[in-house]
Structures are given as C-alpha cells and as structure tokens.
Symmetry: C2
Subunit: 368 residues, 2 copies
Amino acid sequence: MSREDFTVTPWHVEGNIDYNKLIEQFGTERISEQILDRLEKITGDIHFMLKRGIFFSHRDLNKILDTHEQNNEFFVYTGRGPSGNTHIGHLIPWVLTKWIQDKFHTNVYFQLSDDEKFFANKDITLDMVSRFTYENIIDFIALGFKPHNTKIIINTKNIGNLYPTTCQIAKKINLSNIKAVFGFTNDTNIGMIFYTALQSAPCFIENKPVLIPLGIDQDPHFRITRDVAPKIGKIKPAIIHGMMMPSLMGVNNKMSTSKKNSVIYTTDSPSTVKNKINKYAFSGGQSDIKLHRKKGGDPKIDISYQYLRMFFEPNDSKLKRIHDDYTSGRLLTGELKSIAIEKINNFLEIHQQRRKEAVKYMKEYILQ
Amino acid sequence: MSREDFTVTPWHVEGNIDYNKLIEQFGTERISEQILDRLEKITGDIHFMLKRGIFFSHRDLNKILDTHEQNNEFFVYTGRGPSGNTHIGHLIPWVLTKWIQDKFHTNVYFQLSDDEKFFANKDITLDMVSRFTYENIIDFIALGFKPHNTKIIINTKNIGNLYPTTCQIAKKINLSNIKAVFGFTNDTNIGMIFYTALQSAPCFIENKPVLIPLGIDQDPHFRITRDVAPKIGKIKPAIIHGMMMPSLMGVNNKMSTSKKNSVIYTTDSPSTVKNKINKYAFSGGQSDIKLHRKKGGDPKIDISYQYLRMFFEPNDSKLKRIHDDYTSGRLLTGELKSIAIEKINNFLEIHQQRRKEAVKYMKEYILQ
C-alpha cells in the first residue's frame, strides 16, 4: 500500500483517507455552503461538526430539508457495531444525531448490530458482544437522549420488530449485489452475507423519510438500501457522512477499539487520558523547541489539535487561536497537549457522571 | 431428463424418484428390519408408514433409541413451508410425528417457514404466505396435537426465539457450503442464502437430542445442521426420511400445490375428491375389462392403490387383499378407485370436523 492508498469499508478502514476521493468513489454529494445556509435558516445555527466539515458529504439531505419545509416529519437513525467499549470517535455521529433531534424534534432510532459483530469476528462470542452492547448503550444515552423520542434497537433482542421488513429487503438483494459492494468471497459466512438487510430495516421503521448520520465507512450498506427502497415501495434513506476520528498514532488511521493505546475510551480516567495524550498523541510539532518557535507546528497532522477541532473545542475563535498559535510556533506541543487533555477530561468528567445516571434508565430506551 | 432421472432438493422434486439411489446420494441409512424390531420392542407396535417403508431412511435413529433406553428425553421437530394450502401428502410426516409423540411422550415443535417461501417465490407476498401459514397450522393441529406438549413456530413471528441460535449456526456456514449443498448462484437472493440457518435453529430449541421426521427433499438443510452441530457444541439432529406422496398424475411426480388438479387438498369436498380420483388418478389397470381380468393391474404405478398404501388403509391385511385382487384382475380400476374415494372421504370428513375445532384453539399452540 503506497502512502496515498486507503481503504474504507464497513469492516476495514486503513490508510490516509482522502475524503474528496471518497465522495467521488462512493458517488455522494459534498455538503455545500448552500446546503449549510439552508440548514442554518431552519435551525438558527450550524453545529460545528458541520461547519468544520467533520460531516462533509451527504445523500439527499436536500430532500430531508424539503420534507421539513413542507411541514412533514422525518426521523433519524444511527447505530453502532458493538465490537468493543466506546471510544470518543464513536460519539461523533451520535452528537450530531442529538443536535438534529433537538433542532427538528425528530424521533431517533439507535441500532446495536450485535449480530454483525458476532459474525464478523471469529474469536468473539455473543456474550462478549452483549457486554459491549450494554457499554455502548450507556454512552449513547449519556449524550442526553430521552426515552420518549429515542428508541434503542438491539438486533438479537429486537429482531422480531425488524424481521418482516428485513425479509422484504433481503428478497431484493442477490449474491452479485453483495459481492460487488462488500467484496465477499466463498469463505464469508452466511450471517455476514445476510446482515446488510438487517442494517437496512430500521430505515423503514416509521413510514416517514429517514436521515442517517454515520461514519462514511458505513455508506456501502445504505447504497444497497437506496437501491432496494423503490423496489419495496419505500423512500430512499438520506445520509450525512462523517469523517473517522483518527487514532492517537496519527491521522492515517481511524480509532480502533482493537488497539488499546491508540484510542481514548469514554471511561478513561483523567490520568489515563493525560498519559495517553502525552505519550501517544502524534505531534505536528518540530523536533526541538528552538525549531518549533521558528517554523511552528502542523495542526493538520497533530492529533491533539485534530481532537479539539473534531470534538472537544466547539468554540470557533478559541480553536482558531490555538491553530494560529501552533502554526506560528507560539504554542508548543506540550502546551497544545495540555489544552487537549484538559478539554477531553472536562468532557469525560461530565460524561462519566451521566453514564452513571444512564445505567438506571437504560431499559426505558429499548424498543419493545 | 431421461425416464430414470430425478431431482430431489428442498425446492424442486421431479421425476421417477429412486429412493434407493437417494440413500446412496445423500449418504443416509436404510431403516432396517433390525431397527424396526428395536422400535417395536419399545413402542409395542410399528406405525404402518414405517412397516411399509414410506419412511425408509434415517440418520442416527439408533442414537435416539439409545437416548430413550438410557431414560433420557428427546424431542421431535418437523415443519412446513407454507407455499399453499395443505394437501394430503403434507400430512405424512405430521402423522408419523404424532405417533412418535404418543409413543415416546415427547415435546413437538412445528416450524412454519413463511420467510423461506417468501424468499423462494418472487410472485408471492408475505400476506399471501401468511394465509397459507394459517391454513397449514389448522391441518397440523387437526391431527390431534395438544398445546401442552406441542409448540408451533412461525418464523416471522417467533424469530426472537430463534435468532440467537440462528446466528451461532450462520457463523459456521460459509458461502461455499451453501453453494455446494443447494447449488445457489449469483442470482440467488440473500434471504434464501441465510435461510438454512433458521431451519436449523429449532434443532437446538431444547437442550436434548432431536428427531426430525421429514420428506427426504428437506434432508440437505439438516446435512448442513449436522456439520455445524459439533462446532457449536450441540448434538447432531437425528432424522427419519419419508417418501414424497405422488401426484394424481402418476408416481413420477410429488404432489405439488402449484397444480390444483394433481393434488387432493384437506379441504376438498367429497364430490371433489370423487371427481379428482375418478378423472385424474393415474390407473395401473389394463385398457379394457377383458384384458384387466386376464392380466390384472399394476399396483406399483396405480395412484389409488398408492394412496391407500401410503396413508388411507392402515390395515395390512385389507391392503394386501386389495393388492392381490388388483394384481389378479379380480378388482377393476373403477372398483379400486371407489375404495380409495371412500377411504379418503372418511378421513377428510373427520379431519374437516377437527379443523373447525382447531381454529378455536390455534393461539394456544403458538410459541411465545
């Protein structure tokens, strides 16, 4: 794999992702200034993840705004493959989901694809997946979702709700379609082959248009859903695509639960966060202070800066000052790391408190 | 297809089936005199469908008898793909299931694969399948099953009970396995590809050995189940294989719901039965009475005789007299048909009365 190569599929993200190329490869639309203006007129403001291009691409977002402007409702659907504990990268689409819910007063469905993660990893048991499912749900609820307009779907538990629609979808997808989109082979198990129909099903859980905020790696599933929708008399799901939060190791890799020191978990203690950022967060700074003062750092490849930009510093002018100070050399790597550590720990302190509350009310959220 | 050729798969049965060859092809065991003796010692008698070789083949039936003799329990599982109304051929494995239940005091599970029939036929809707499901269930219950030891599984309704086990199974079956056993191609929809895992799941619904009476066309599904079972720490299902009841048109075809005049439905009126047998039932008799008196008829290819043998004349000595009289020419085709009509209508009169009762109690049987 050359430096410029990258892979983005639902089960494998690797390399230095060129998001512009992904828009072309996947055939999606860029989130334009025009559509952001349209959004702002409706919502009064624009979430910083949209403004900063963390969510950069979409399918049919205009149609969702049409729906809203015609005084019709839509709903929001997102999810998580519970392959491990929650890290801060997982929260990105959930935070945007919450913002959309608040601005548009929509119902939200959150799918836990425990079956998929069981199929995808030969060494994992359903019990192991179940533990992660529970942990991930707690983090989702902790972001402020309320049970009256938010329902959680655990595939193995809520299959009864999903299965008839899943069957309608599965009947319209053949083996060629699946092979073309996911590159499956003769060694692929039949659970993996069928699974995409189950990830499609919540798109039609209400008889309204749906908007799906997700990491762009999940787009292939919904490309299939969008092909199938008209064949079963349904509306194509609309999608907003987010970037992958990079691992501590550098911008060339998405955070992955499988590499413990490459990610910050939502349950990490302040000292763990401090240690991980100081020890592992890739720096865009120069090799010594003198050179740094002279040439400045590169925020584009600096993980501490990227975490602030993508998640932990919502204030644009504060972020700009950090950016400019770092670029000019006024701000040293150690200082930038300190800012990141403080911001992350502030967030996690509140989040971890909310997690304790979330545990108590979890059952109210599960779809019946 | 030459005269000797035949096809037996879960979705296609055609030709003059050579059941001896099937035993070889499928790698099953013949139901021997020895195993029948063993059964008789336990049960006190042998059901005529076993004695006459209507059930002719098995896998691990000896192990089931071992289980019983060691004072351990097993359970029984059979099913129906609800692609149409019930015809008398469908009842064969259900009648044997009832006999086994009565003799061994086992629980029985009856699976309706409504999902499979929906996947398999592009022109059928889930609503259409649902109507057949309901009709088939009524016929099953009418055979005398009781709700305290008999549970009905409708796949789309009871998927919640089956899905976690289905996932365990699906993870151990890859695309090569499925292609090898069922001959699926790139045009096959992913519902069909996944489905076999769902037909396997009831094999493990109780933590006991299972015995499955079925038409031998369904064996391929359970060949897969038997491969998977040890991989998920479960006991291989045991199977008793039955013959296919031939269509009215002749012994070269299994009864098929898709050809209305080739089958006798459980809801046919006495006059319909009379008309179908007289008009369509293939005769093994000679072309005129004189020749028939001289050369006699051939019961092997005579549908009226075959229906008596397979289902409607349980009394061996009565059947033998019919056989001998027909072979010798004493019994004419018209007379043989009259016997069959009377026997079938006697059965259906009681069965249809029981169907009316069954409707009332159906809900008690559905797995919760």
